[in-house]
Amino acid sequence: MRNVNQVKMQFASLPENVALARVVVATMMSNLEFTLTNLDDVKVAVSEAVSNAIMHGYHNKTDGLIDFAVTLDGEGLEIIVADQGQGIQDIAKAMEPSYSTSPDRMGLGFVFMQSFMDQIDVKSEVGQGTVVRLYKYVPQLQRAVQ
């Protein structure tokens, strides 16, 4: 089984591309020994990150570009979601539970990303854009003795 691979994508900030990002990650994960739970967890994290780029980075304008890179490095899965949108003023505050700049949002996106992934790293510059890096280790499966 192969466990090293890299895919780079660029797509428009359209809502249907959230599903696309999810499907790409799920397909790449299927080459490693991730569980169904891992798959669901990573899909949630990816949805949150890409939705944030669309909603907050580009304010739902559909002509923004999102760079999306998925790397299997042998130990796990790295996902990078980058937009060139509005950027985040105070990253620490943005990552707090329930913090949202949209009145109708829950402010739980970063909380989900943190709980479902093993690493999260956010870089952002107001007016320049945001880069979110997520990492998930392949679990050390305990092999059941038959």
């Binding site: 599903a19 999810r22 499907v23 020994e33 569980t35 169904l36 739970t37």
Partner: protein, 77 residues
């Protein structure tokens, strides 16, 4: 967090393929039924709507049960 994992069933990777296989079977049955009802082939979205799943789930399930990389391998392996 717990309720987000509402699809959680089992930790076994084997389960993944089993649930995909079931979905793929439902997709094909639904396609057949809708073709009869509509008098034409249904679209992917019509199948997804009828099964109350996302179009993305249709695509994933069909891909999961079809692994060969080239039709040559399917036909002439």
């Amino acid at each position: 967090i717990g309720e987000i994992r509402r699809f959680l069933r089992d930790d076994s990777p084997v389960k993944v393929s089993r649930s995909y296989k079931e979905t793929a079977q439902r997709i094909h049955r639904c396609q057949h039924e809708l073709t009869g009802k509509l008098g034409r082939e249904p679209t992917i979205q019509e199948v997804a709507n009828a099964l109350e799943i996302e179009p993305e789930a249709v695509v994933e399930a069909l891909e999961a049960v079809q692994s060969p990389t080239s039709i040559h391998e399917t036909f002439y392996q």
